[in-house]
Amino acid sequence: MTIQPRPSPDPKTVARKVRRDLAVRRTGRFGMWLSPFVVYLFLWVPIIVLVVFSFNDGNSVSVWRGFTTRWYENIFHGTISAGTEAARFQTELLLKALRNSLLVATVATLISSALGTMLSLALARGRFWGRKTLDTLFYLPVVIPDITQGIALAVFFNIVFETVQRLFGVRLVSGFGTIVIAHVAFNVSYVAIVVRARLAGMDPRLEEAGRDLGANHWQTFWRITFPNLLPGVMAGALLAFTLSLDDFVITFFNSGVGTTTLPLFVYGMLKQRVPPEINAISTLMILASIILVGGSLLLQQRGNRDKG
């Protein structure tokens, strides 16, 4: 086989190709520069409008009628929607929902952090039968839609409550307990995943060194493993706390009658009569999440700096 020399290209075609390629490059550059504007506008304009109109002196969410802080004052003075008796009731419901949310999130976070950390340690360090299956099982709550988890748990609690009533004559109802159980069930996985990532980056020689120097398991864990793991545990706990505060769907199906959390309260407002204070309430919630996430990021950064 002989190799044919390539016919030297016609300079005109070359020039055309170069011009076309440069046009392609310019278009690509332009598209790449355009994308942040489009996406950031899309992500941020609704939130900024919401915050701005929380200071709007008027009920409209689209026509500006001057600056006011009265919606915030209404919230803090307990007089949502113009100081009637119903307003006081609404404010009380809001505060109660906030208290419930914080309480549920705190208890669920404590339980799921402890269980999730133990689980990830067992999965990372232990060798035992069924470890692989467990590994798959604990990823499931992350992928399965919350609506499915929510209704499955509701069906389950229903059956358990009926059985308990038939056998013992005790009538159980959904409420605080069922919400916490449900939240722990989805939070454990998230905590385990975050802690595991931290464990993977940890030098196993540290623990070996501890043991070589005569520390027993208990001492090795509390003096070496746990302090090194702590940033991961804190990050996992904060994630669990945020997810718990944010959850609507699973709580919705397992809350029963008496217990309202903040997302359930907001949903109720959106579904029934939207009070003018809703923008102010939403703004406060956005502010709270920024503080929470900012705190968690700072914590993680400090953890990384400690690591090296």
């Binding site: 190709k17 489009v38 409008v49 689209s62 026509v63 133990m118 067992a122 232990g126 609506i147 996430v293």
Partner: protein
Amino acid sequence: MTRGKVRGDRARAVGMALPATFWLVVFFLLPLVFVAFSSFMSRGPGGQPVSPATLAQYERTFTVFGPVLWRSVGVALFATFISLVLGYPLAFFISRRRSPATRMFLLFLVMLPFWTNFLVRTYALITIMQRDGLLNGLFKSLGVISAPLQMLFTPAAVMVGLVYGYLPFMILPIYASVEALDRRYVEAANDLGANDWTAFWRIIFPLTLPGVIAGSILVFIPAIGAYVTPDLMGGTRGLMIGNLIQGQFGGRGNVPLGSAISMVLLAMVFISVLVYTRWGQREE
């Protein structure tokens, strides 16, 4: 290591795994098993599952609710596609910034809206899109429309809501895979005469495909199981699978039918997970 020590280690590991495993099995797996069983039962007078066993619920799911089912798949797929079209260039843009601080800040700007309560974000979008909202006002003052557009309570509104809700899930994995891309491949392609278009489709896109697939699955799964977005933005024309399931629980419901629809939803999610584990992970 002595045999006794190994056994001790194993016992300790099992003991540590036990509480979480118990919780997951009892409050997660068992309820799902109940739903699976209930989906093969008949409807009792109060909507509860009773014997005899039947496949009727699945039949109803695909016949009566078939249109909603396929529309949900369509809406979720389209939302995923739009997220990809919006997210890929942005992920690329962010990864091309020189200073790590700028990259962190740009990623932070993507994440921050994502960390605010989902209901609050959906409400924010609703206020923009409603009849007397900002968008209609803008269009009117620009002279694009004469009468306000009805944007809410349509399948398109649900799609916008889903993209708004899950876009960061698309951006982050794509960012990770573009970041890991070896630029020398692109340079080599350019040297060999490929223009940017060819280099992108023949080199960059195939190499970042795992990120694209991961992002797409991460958007598609919550989108197909969405409940809040279609409930608040969809009206009756924008209902999705999640709303069908919810409708079968509570008063005048049909628990076995709701269970069957849930199982179909689960099947769709598992298919997506299979796609992810097959093609969405970088080969080590």
